[in-house]
């Protein structure tokens, strides 16, 4: 092998090495542990598919999975259209659009832990901004215990997460809009297309890659939701706002059931992988076409 062929591999060796130690190896280990009964301290015991069988009958796991699906729907149904609408709006060069853009974009700069903390104060039942607002305008009935009512707590958490997720989608679409050919839009205008027709038949098809990316990223983010749940409710009250990652944490690190926790992680990994693969296939297909 001549030198120029070797160079890229030499550059890759370092990162690959780290990637194996910190990503590949733990994944393999998690798979192994998921077939074990292990308290994290004493010897592991092989139990076959026992952990996975138990998952099927575990109500709280079912609940957590359902909550993840709610997160997913909330992320896709809300953050994509709103993000797109905001991007279209911000793309108009109105006065001060840069300031508005930064304001909307601001939550992106915060970590989920900070966002969770802020929103637990906003949604605090007695003195929180939301309930104080409703009470002050005489709409007492809308002042809800956002974080302690098991029926609404998951939606409160999703709302908090969307505060960061929507601007994220907006950024992706803004980048996408840069690639929409101006000539095409002008040509459509000359041909007498209305604004709605221009959006629907010219801009949106051109944004297809951005929509796919934004959707996939949102789905993956919704599946790995953890930080906000952990900070705001710890999955409570009584697991009603639990998500898979959170339930895994409780089982593995609180209940000392490493094997069971690992099996939850494996299921979560499988679902996420499904979405990532379908995304990659989409990208590959597109590259072949071009």
């Amino acid at each position: 092998m001549n030198r120029s062929k070797l160079t890229p591999y030499l550059f890759l060796a370092g990162p690959l090495c780290m990637y194996s130690v910190w990503v590949i190896f733990p994944i393999i280990q998690t798979f192994i542990v998921s077939f074990m009964k292990w308290d994290g301290m004493t010897k592991m015991k092989f139990v076959g598919l026992e952990n996975f069988k138990r998952l099927i009958t575990d109500n709280y796991f079912g609940l957590s999975l359902m909550n993840n699906i709610k997160w997913m729907i909330g992320f896709v149904v809300l953050s994509i259209p709103i993000g797109l609408a905001l991007a279209m709006l911000m793309d108009q060069k109105f006065a001060g659009h840069k300031i508005y853009k930064s304001l909307v974009y601001l939550p992106m700069a915060l970590s989920f832990v900070v966002i969770g903390q802020i929103w637990s104060w906003v949604l605090e039942p007695t003195g929180g901004v939301v309930n104080t607002f409703f009470r002050s305008i005489g709409l007492e009935q809308f002042a809800k215990p956002w974080l302690s009512d098991p029926k609404i707590v998951t939606y409160s958490l999703i709302a908090a997460a969307l505060w960061r997720q929507i601007p994220y989608a907006m950024v992706l679409f803004l980048a996408g809009l840069k690639n929409v050919s101006k000539e095409l839009i002008e040509a459509a205008t000359v041909d007498g297309a209305t604004a709605i027709q221009r959006f629907w038949y010219v801009i949106l098809p051109a944004l297809r890659p951005a929509v796919i990316i934004a959707t996939t990223v949102n789905i993956i983010d919704s599946l790995r939701a953890f930080d906000i749940v952990f900070v705001m409710t710890r999955g409570g009250p009584f697991y009603s706002s639990s998500v898979m990652a959170n339930y895994m944490y409780v089982q593995a690190f609180h209940n000392y059931r490493m094997g069971y926790g690992a099996s939850i992680a494996v299921v979560q990994f499988g679902i996420t992988l499904g979405f990532i693969i379908s995304y990659l296939l989409n990208v590959l297909k597109k590259e072949e076409r071009e």
């Binding site: 308290d39 994290g40 301290m41 605090e124 974080l147 302690s148 009584f238 697991y239 209940n255």
Partner: protein, 408 residues
Amino acid sequence: MRRYFLILLALLMSLTTLAKEKIIVNSYMSDPAPRKAFAELVDIFMQKYPEYEVIINTFAHEDFKTLLRTWLAAPKGTADVVTWFAGERMRYFAQMGLIASIEEVFAGQKWEDYFPASFKSTCSYNDKIYFVPQSWYWWGVYYRKSVFEKLGIKEPKSWDEFLNVCEILKKNGITPIAIGTKFPWTAAGWFDILNLRINGLEYHIKLTAGEVPYNDPKLMKVFEYWKQLIDKGYFLANHAAYEWQEGATFLFRGQAAMYYMGQFIKDVAPAEVKDDLDFFRFPIIDSAVGLYEETPIDGFMIPANAPNKKGAIVFLKFIASKEAQEKFAKDLGRLAANVQVTPPDEHANKGLAMIVASSGVAQFYDRDTNPEMAEVGMNAFIEFMQNPTRITSILNRLEQERKRIYSK
């Protein structure tokens, strides 16, 4: 010449600091008051034993509980001493060989020279001592004296009187009972005391040991009494949104009047409220049942993988001493485990008197129960508090869990 001398001096000084043996203490005392008291205690130790340097790593209480296991299970230990709870939660680690026996602390002496004989069993596993108790406290119904006075309320002695007090408070627009159940152990306090008052200590110990089914009709009675308070709306609304300290602020602001809580509620009370806080013994429900109370014991243990076990023993010997115990108890108004230390103040005297007059004591639900059972149990209590009518299905589910967990 002078410069060389200075350099030499600096070198020597750094050598002596290097020569100091390190003792690393991982602590969950994260509330400001206990944190300060413990830091001062460690300073006294370092003055007394200049050959040691003690490093305290403080962790938030709830995080500590999950982290401890990773420290204990690590092949190479990092902490020499860790704070922990006596009873089942300590034994859990002792039976796996993850903590070291500390018999050496009492070398040439007896346990009874330091601590009450009645504490020995909760601090031991297989007749060996694993735990040095530092302080203990009682649980009681804490209340605002000023609120009671203003409404002409006297401390209730019986359940009916207690319900009556709640009713008066509620009529006057004050939440009768504060609680914060974001972390569910506060609800476990209610479960414990109701079970102790209704079914007694022996039954309670059997239950926490996993020997009694959770759908036992006797246990149902506990929830029937609890339900009376829930149905009448005596508990703080939206309690699942608050941590225990946040629940306590309602008490401190005078918006709530009572809180069934451990003495450590005084740690977080603002100065102007502290003296307005008093407690009474949880009211009697069945006069045929003895008066049992909850008295958790806090203290220290040594991980089996501690790098400096020798230093850890010296440190724990100091912690067990009258001087150290007196200082800590005095700072926080708790009761020292050391028998030679008298209660630090009137309030602690009252607490001690209540415990001495009891027929027996339990630790606490999540200290007496297997950790996994405690987790599902405590969450079930919150679910019950929010949906009291679901109690039968909740208890049946707990029973399934108990069977699974204890069949291991």
